[in-house]
């Protein structure tokens, strides 16, 4: 009799659980975007005979059910916590937390990606810089795995070897500026890939000094009240504490202007776009995000020297700190613009040129045009 009740209770309980979950799946309102994952979610596929016959409908339906699963973020968190705590895995989908920081494994060194990036830089050299006559520098920003991965027993790049390899690929035309000694783990956000602007004024000074400019480096630090949940917060799905986002400002910077040529026409933008503070990616506060082509002009500069920076998103928070040293800084992101088009917007005539890229981008460089 006891067994009979046991079977009855077990069936009813588990059947109810299945039913409730199923009803939630069927009637859960559709969401368009996942803030935590920073991506558009799959919607319900369109039902048509052609879609069914090809099998596309079924595949899209499965993607839809995964993306629109009720409590998706909670289930992702359950998975992440159980992978790391229950199964004691060292990473979850390549993401790991150690020493209070969260990061993504960057391993192994992708020689083909480095070749690709070096090839893209060479193309810019051949198109514009060879005949321009100005000095060209290269600096590589190590990502935070440099201080975190090996230290915490995770797979790690050999950063010295990486930098040496890329320097030799880039050629002797570029003078290398080593900024690694200026950096430490604390200079990066705990939940994001990027570095903290308030911690990298020494990096700016090192770069400027190497390029023959001296910076005052005195700023006022403004810390935003909104919590900053970096890109790894959503990706890892772990219950992480948010970062705080600060920016540095002074009188020089307040008088600078930023113009974006993302659409081909000049558009005024903010050096610090505070409206981004509560957005999906608050790091876009710096230079209003990464655009294909931006110009930062400093009307109070004590020089008419100009700087062109080929860059990734790490430069967004660094460049304001370099503003003092040049009359204008042109920022080019060749992920968003074909270098062949740059001649229509930039007159290369001997300006200082800096290639400033992170190891993350150089090791995953397919996006470079």
């Amino acid at each position: 009799m006891m067994k009979h009740y046991k079977h009855q209770i077990q069936t009813i309980l588990l059947g109810l659980l299945l039913l409730v979950m199923a009803l939630l799946c069927w009637f859960h309102p559709e969401q368009l975007y996942s803030d935590s994952e920073r991506r558009v979610l799959a919607g319900a596929p369109e039902l048509s005979w052609e879609e069914i016959r090809s099998g596309d409908y079924m595949r899209d339906f499965e993607a839809y059910t995964l993306d629109q699963f009720p409590g998706r973020d909670g289930f992702r968190r359950l998975k992440a916590v159980s992978a790391l705590e229950l199964f004691r895995q060292l990473d979850n989908n390549g993401l790991y937390s150690a020493m209070g920081y969260t990061s993504k494994l960057e391993y192994p060194m992708h020689q083909n990606m480095m070749d690709h990036a070096a090839g893209r830089f060479q193309r810019i050299w051949d198109l514009y810089l060879k005949d321009s006559g100005g000095p060209v520098w290269l600096s590589i920003i190590p990502d935070k795995n440099c201080w975190l991965a090996e230290e915490s027993g995770r797979l790690s790049l050999d950063y010295d070897q990486f930098i040496q390899t890329f320097r030799s690929l880039a050629g002797e035309e570029m003078t290398y500026i080593d900024i690694t000694p200026c950096l430490s783990l604390e200079d990066y956000y705990r939940t994001d890939t990027h570095w903290r602007q308030e911690s990298i004024s020494d990096v700016a000074q090192t770069l400027a000094a190497a390029m023959g400019r001296e910076l005052n480096g005195e700023y006022e630090t403004v810390t935003l009240e909104e919590p900053f949940y970096g890109v790894y917060y959503g990706q890892s799905a772990l219950p992480l504490l948010p970062d705080r986002l600060s920016y540095l400002t002074n009188e020089t910077l307040e008088n600078c202007t930023l113009t974006s040529y993302d659409t081909g026409k000049p558009v005024d933008k903010e050096i610090y776009d505070l409206s981004q503070a509560g957005s999906r990616d608050p790091y876009e506060l710096f230079l209003s995000g990464s655009d294909a082509l931006q110009v930062l002009e400093n009307p109070n500069a004590d020089t008419d020297r100009e700087l062109i920076i080929f860059r990734d998103s790490f430069a967004s928070s660094l460049v304001p700190l370099l503003a003092e040293g040049w009359s204008s800084i042109v920022l080019v992101d060749i992920r968003y613009v074909d270098p062949a088009m740059l001649g229509a917007f930039i007159d290369f005539h001997g300006q200082d040129v800096l290639f400033l890229y992170s190891t993350l981008l150089l090791n995953n460089s397919l996006g470079l045009r």
């Binding site: 046991k6 309980l13 339906f61 359950l78 159980s82 229950l86 060292l90």
Partner: protein
């Protein structure tokens, strides 16, 4: 559609169970058939007509055999149904392989055949053939009701990955079966345990095996790690799927035969094959080995019978030479045990188990290799012959990262956990009554979490 997917768990299954239990007994097989056709069509809509035709020919020739008074007519219908079943299997699964092998051996340029493999064709073809042969042998009466026969062949719990259910085993249940709280409860338990085996263990081991494919620093340790992980993955994957199939069958009132019985504790390869994919092994025994004469023939013919059966067993798993060699590997080991070293293993539990596991692990390296050269590379790496370092940082990292999963898998592949749970259940029956549904609910929720996160979710036996 696979069982370990959100569409199955939370869309298809609740809907099918609800309708199935709402309709009266007479309509249940029709619901089962329609649900099964939908299930199959969901994954392979283009292959649905092939399965329907296969069932139809099995039905027609089965009836024809039963109605034939003369043996030669019976035989003719049998040969025709076998020709239809085997013809479809040969064409869809093996034609490309034969054409490719012919071109490779002769050097004659023959255009490659690119034929899509219908999911589960090996399973449902074998079910139809066993039905036809059993009707021919008079072991069972031909099924008069086409819905019953179609429901048997296409029954979604066992349609795409087995176990290979014999018609004779469930013929009575097709027409009259009972449903009870106990069957439902035990079915749900079995299904959820299988789901956990598949999603929480096999998929994670699969991810580890995937690392081997993109290996940056090869080493002897990583070769072993991969070989052991795959050996465990395929067990948890396939036995987990079989558990889910058996559990679903039980929920629907059917008793399917067991397909696995802790094969990795075997003390001989002979015993291993009594515990591994039992429904396939017994199918080949009953429908190939014994009709060929089994062991009641001359020694030469017996040797031939064994090698033929094992070559076919390997070939059943896939149209590639590595599967043929994998089957022959077991054929040779079985012969070795019968003729040479079988007695030497008796009374040596440790040595015999080490021998079986080594045979199985090396066998699965061959089984899972994309090519023979890949298999040889991995095996030579395992034996330290490839000039690889013993260890690498990468190998140690993944060993540490997957240590808990590997330990759980090793222990879970033995009868120890089940035995321990049974004993505890007997001792603390009240507590277990409460805890069991909680534990099962946790498995469902955790598996759901792994599925929602879009983790690695292949199903190895789909290709068969």
């Amino acid at each position: 559609m696979v069982f370990s997917s959100i569409p199955f768990l939370y869309y298809y299954l609740p809907a099918v169970l609800a309708v199935y239990f709402l309709v009266p007994r007479q309509g249940k097989n029709l619901i089962l058939l329609l649900a099964s056709l939908f299930f199959y069509g969901w994954g392979e809509p283009a292959c649905l007509p092939l399965m329907v035709l296969s069932v139809a020919q099995g039905y027609v020739f089965g009836l024809a055999m039963e109605k034939s008074k003369q043996q030669r007519w019976k035989k003719l219908w049998l040969l025709l149904t076998l020709a239809c079943s085997l013809g479809a299997l040969l064409w869809f699964k093996y034609a490309g392989f034969f054409v490719g092998s012919f071109a490779a051996f002769t050097g004659i340029p023959v255009p490659a055949l690119k034929i899509a493999l219908p999911i589960g064709i090996s399973f449902y073809t074998f079910q139809i053939m066993s039905y036809s042969v059993d009707v021919y042998w008079g072991k069972t009466a031909a099924q008069k009701n086409p819905i019953h026969l179609a429901a048997y062949v296409s029954m979604f719990p066992q349609l795409i990955a087995g176990p290979i259910v014999r018609y004779t085993d469930i013929a009575r249940q097709l027409e009259r079966r009972t449903h009870s709280w106990e069957k439902l409860s035990l079915g749900i338990r079995r299904f959820l345990l299988g789901l956990g085996k598949k999603v929480l263990i096999a998929n994670q081991l699969g991810a580890l095996c995937g690392q081997y494919q993109s290996l940056h620093e090869p080493s002897v340790l990583f070769c072993w790690l991969y070989a052991c992980a795959f050996t465990l993955q395929i067990y948890f994957d396939f036995s987990g799927y079989s558990d889910m199939a058996i559990g679903l069958g039980r929920m629907l009132g059917f008793d399917f035969t067991e397909n696995f019985h802790y094969p990795y504790v075997s003390r001989s390869v002979t015993e291993f094959w009594r515990r591994w994919h039992i429904s396939l092994g017994s199918w080949f025994r009953d429908y190939v080995y014994i009709p060929l004469g089994g062991n009641r023939v001359s020694r030469g013919k017996w040797l031939r019978n064994i090698l033929v059966v094992w070559m076919l067993t390997g070939f059943w798993h896939g149209a590639a030479w590595n599967f043929v060699l994998w089957g022959l590997w077991y054929g040779l080991l079985l012969l070795g045990e019968k003729l040479l070293w079988g007695r030497g293993l008796e009374g040596r539990p440790v040595l015999s188990r080490v021998y079986v596991m080594l045979a199985v692990i090396f066998g699965f390296v061959l089984f899972n290799a994309a090519s023979l050269s890949d298999a040889l590379d991995c095996m030579s790496g395992m034996l330290g012959l490839g000039g690889l370092p013993l260890c690498s940082g990468e190998a140690l990292y993944y060993l540490r990262s997957y240590a808990v999963v590997l330990i759980l898998a090793v222990v879970g592949a033995t009868p120890l956990p089940a035995r321990a749970f049974r004993r505890l259940g007997e001792r603390f029956e009240g507590v277990f009554t409460l805890l069991e549904p909680v534990g099962l609910a946790l498995i469902l929720l955790l598996s759901t979490a792994y599925l929602v996160d879009g983790s690695f979710n292949p199903f190895l036996y789909f290709r068969f």
